[in-house]
């Protein structure tokens, strides 16, 4: 019996090159004649730009060119927004690659210098004299939407980029008849994604042929090729986009940025390869941020804990310009998920997308869904407190019972499959919840504040199908493609349209193919991230690479298997109907000795000396797979914290994650994804926040002031799972890239509030720094 690789925790083949430092990132590439670009960025959050004197910079040693917005306005079209959410009065303000008359956030590009070496380029930036006239700035989305706020764009009234609403069920009746209503105002603070590799681009342009090669750290090279053609005018057939090793993205490398297109512009002008590599400081100010919501939420319920309605208003900061996919995140990916795993029967949400004088906001791991899960899960705990019921019991009362063939929500989604109660039960019994509650009560008697925080979630990922993409204003498709090519020796090349950058698909996709056609995983090489060699695809985000790309791949592999069966039948002089694929061999049913291996079939297919009639040479297949629906992973998480009343320090003592992403191709990789995701979510609860001062300066501009999670402050994360296959996916898999982040922030939040409940603390803005927690405790216990 051949060992099935699907489900096996084999080691990631990506890791040796990553951990030994031999991986090749964009900045590792060097081309003959290569020169270097550096961007001059606005130090003002909002200012008009007067004269720009570049003469001293031009005369600086090694400098080849200095371009300002006036020089690039013909060669670079404005940055496109590619998620035009409909019925939302969307106002896409002009987003020039290089600002000309106005700068709108600290980091807006005002000029570019190209020099022989990067240091000369950076030195020359000092010599550019820009005349700025500072204007009032606004950074908080709720304030920006108010009367009299500074206008970020003259043609966008009240800074309102869009107003999107979702509703379902009778919300008014739910609140009118409510026995209990709980309310809260939550700040989903702005986060900085912090990919380990900052953004980078290397552009080589052949002035004779018009061919462009752009190496770029992107999550979606095919989309970038398309957007590049719009902005730089290099047609798609002339542009080759390569994403070499990409050192993390977390959503921040979905969008196209002015930086790479300015780099292309410089390469076209100068006829020399131009490299641009952003500094960490630039990364903080000009690579997209995440979250930034101000949320007002009300939940209606009965006294027995039954949730009857949810009503909310969200002000979502968009930053100074709409980044590529930005409008879809606090709307489609957010509001549609509000029925949550409870199937809340009445929903009304208004979302105001608001321009502010800040870095553009984009997808950040979870993208809209953590913010939605947070709202619901926080309110469930508030409800539990209000009616004196345990939060676990409120959840049990409301969870949708198990289903395997679809559950319709009032927001128009159909969850594919789910078994939420089992996930919660498993969590509670694994963690011994009852014992933890008893320990908590005992600890409180001795003045120790332990808190338990639950989060039960369902999310949507595997973004697709394309028909839906069109309906929701996504300016692209959401299908995926794959090519499986078997070489004469039986070795396999797989070409995929998605672009993994740390998620491990070079390994898991080899596992899928190995099982489907009968080779070893080591016989399969997965090729991605190059638009000239891989088929069209829509990228790696929204936990869609395996959920959609993996399905395409399985289907392509099955086509290869079918053809291999036909060829094997011919070679074995058997009827195709009598053939089977078993134990990794193509054999005659009932006669396992009469069998051909894939290598034998592949050799014949490639030399084609003796092929069945009407069968083409070669052993290769491709598929375009458009999923019929999203996939809906789910799970239940528990955080246990202890808060030091004297210092406000939060100690995360235990974290248990149960996630159901369907059948797991590689459980070790799933566990890794959960670990990373959970930690990023914990980071939001406890440590991370991008802060602007009143004048729009980013004061958390480096890792000195922006606190990232560290291993030493985290407990061992206990990762468990349940397995509920997706009914519509060829492999049943759902996606796991974002689940951890979606669930964990609110689990930790609920735990801290549970710990502080006896002290009368009801809400604290994240992150839970000791100072904030201490102040909240002082405030609540004042006079006691």
């Amino acid at each position: 019996m051949a060992t099935r690789l699907f489900g096996s925790g084999i080691r990631r083949r990506e890791d040796p090159r990553l951990i030994t430092g031999s991986a090749t990132y964009t900045d590792d590439l060097t081309l003959p004649g290569m020169v270097h670009a550096a961007m001059l960025r606005s130090p003002h959050a909002h200012a008009t730009v007067g004269t720009i004197d570049i003469s001293r910079a031009q005369a600086s040693p090694g400098v080849l060119a200095v371009y300002t917005g006036k020089d690039t306005s013909d060669g670079l079209q404005p940055m496109p927004c590619a998620w035009l959410v409909p019925d939302a009065d969307l106002k896409v303000a002009t987003y020039p690659c290089i600002a000309t008359d106005t700068v709108r956030y600290v980091g807006d590009i005002v000029a570019v210098v190209v020099a022989e070496d990067p240091y000369q380029a950076y030195d020359a930036l000092d010599l550019i004299d820009v005349e700025y006239t500072a204007l009032p700035a606004v950074t908080n989305p709720a304030e920006a939407a108010g009367d009299g706020a500074p206008q970020v764009h003259a043609d966008v009234d009240k800074n309102q980029a869009f107003h999107w609403a979702v509703s379902g069920g009778d919300v008014d009746a739910a609140f009118k008849d409510a026995e209990v209503v709980v309310k809260e105002r939550i700040i989903q603070q702005r986060l900085i994604p912090n990919a380990m590799e900052p953004r980078a681009a290397l552009a080589e342009y052949d002035q004779a042929s018009g061919d462009l090669t752009l190496w770029n750290t992107t999550q979606n090279p095919h989309i970038l090729r398309f957007l590049n053609s719009v902005v730089t005018g290099v047609p798609e057939d002339r542009a080759r986009i390569i994403a070499p090793e990409v050192g993390g993205g977390f959503g921040s490398k979905i969008p196209a940025y002015p930086g790479e297109f300015i780099t292309v512009f410089c390469a076209k002008q100068l006829g020399r390869p131009v490299k641009w590599n952003e500094t960490r400081s630039e990364n903080y100010q000009a690579t997209t941020h995440g979250r930034d919501h101000v949320q007002e939420i009300e939940l209606a319920a009965k006294k027995d804990g039954t949730i009857t309605g949810l009503r909310c208003t969200v002000w979502a900061g968009m930053g100074a310009y709409l980044s590529t996919a930005a409008p879809g995140i606090p709307t489609i990916l957010h509001g549609l998920m509000l029925p949550a795993c409870y199937g809340i029967p009445a929903i009304k949400e208004d979302v105001y997308g608001v321009y502010t004088n800040t870095t553009p906001v984009e997808a950040y791991r979870g993208a809209g869904r953590p913010e939605a899960t947070f709202m619901v899960e926080r309110m469930v705990d508030r409800l539990a407190g209000e009616i004196g019921m345990d939060p676990a019991d409120v959840r049990k009362k409301n969870l949708i019972p198990a289903f395997d063939d679809g559950h319709d929500t009032v927001t128009g989604l159909t969850y594919d499959s789910g078994d939420y109660p089992t996930a919660l039960d498993k969590l509670l019994s694994h963690a011994d919840y009852a014992r933890l509650r008893a320990e908590q009560a005992t600890a409180r008697k001795s003045g120790r504040y332990i808190g338990l925080g639950l989060s039960t979630y369902v999310e949507m990922c595997g973004l697709g199908p394309s028909q839906v993409a069109g309906a929701i204003g996504f300016q692209g498709g959401l299908w995926e493609s794959a090519i499986v090519r078997v070489h004469p020796t039986g070795k396999v090349h797989v070409f995929i349209g998605t672009s993994p950058h740390g998620q491990g698909e070079e390994t898991t996709f080899a596992q899928i193919v190995a099982d489907e056609i009968g080779v070893g995983a080591d016989d399969v090489k997965v090729i991605h991230g190059d638009t000239d060699t891989t088929p069209m695809g829509w990228g790696t985000y929204g936990s869609r690479t395996t959920a959609v790309g993996g399905a395409a791949l399985a289907k392509a592999a099955r086509k290869v298997r079918d053809k291999a069966k036909v060829i094997a039948a011919h070679l074995l002089e058997a009827a195709v109907e009598d053939m089977e694929f078993a134990d990794g061999k193509y054999s005659v049913k009932g006669s396992p000795d009469k069998a051909k291996s894939l290598a034998e079939v592949a050799l014949m297919a490639n030399v084609a000396w003796n092929m069945p009639a009407n069968v083409e040479a070669g052993l290769e297949a491709s598929t375009f797979y458009d999923p019929p629906n999203f996939t809906f992973p789910f799970g239940a998480h528990l955080a246990v914290v202890e808060v030091d009343k004297a210092t406000g320090q939060v100690d995360l003592k235990r974290y248990v994650a149960i996630d159901d992403c369907g059948p797991q191709i590689n459980p070790v990789i799933v566990e890794g994804q959960v670990h990373g995701g959970v930690v990023q979510g914990i980071g939001q609860a406890l440590w991370e926040q991008a802060v602007y001062d009143d004048s729009g300066q980013l004061v958390t501009g480096s890792m000195l002031d922006y606190a990232l999670p560290r291993a030493g402050r985290l407990p061992e994360i206990e990762v468990l799972s349940t397995v509920t296959p997706s009914p519509h996916h060829p492999l049943g898999v759902k996606g796991i890239g974002e689940a951890g982040t979606i669930a964990s922030t609110v689990a930790v939040y609920n735990a801290v509030m549970d710990a502080l409940g006896p002290l009368g603390v009801e809400t604290i803005d994240m992150p839970f720094t000791p100072e904030r927690v201490w102040r909240a405790i002082q405030q609540a216990t004042k006079g006691h």
Partner: protein, 147 residues
Amino acid sequence: MELTASYRFDVPPTALWPLLVDPAVVASCLPGCEALEPVGDDSYRAVLTVGIAAVTGRYEGTVTLADQRPPHAYRLVVTGKGRAGFVNGEATLELHEDGGGTRLDVAGRAEVGGTIARVGQRLLSSASKMMMDRFFDCLRKQTAAPS
């Protein structure tokens, strides 16, 4: 960023005032001052090298000693920009007769931008205070120096 401070001198305002408006004295006492050249109307072109936290920068700008009321008060207006960002500040210096000496009160505010705001902001007020202390210490020494 708001700044307030008070300094005590043993000499009366009439003796302190000339030093406070003497560009040579100011230039020699201002930490990191490389140049202070008059450009008219009580304004000076200044070149300063300042290091705050991880941010060291060379700033070029103007210093104006406005609204002079000798020997009581003037308004110091500073605008500067450099690689590490920009600084716009304004401070009122008031000299008060105090038992034969002078109490000098400084009250001002500054706005900073660029790298200095991103990286150094946390340390900015303490660094500014330190620079002011050094400046007035130096000035105090000059008042004690035999002329």
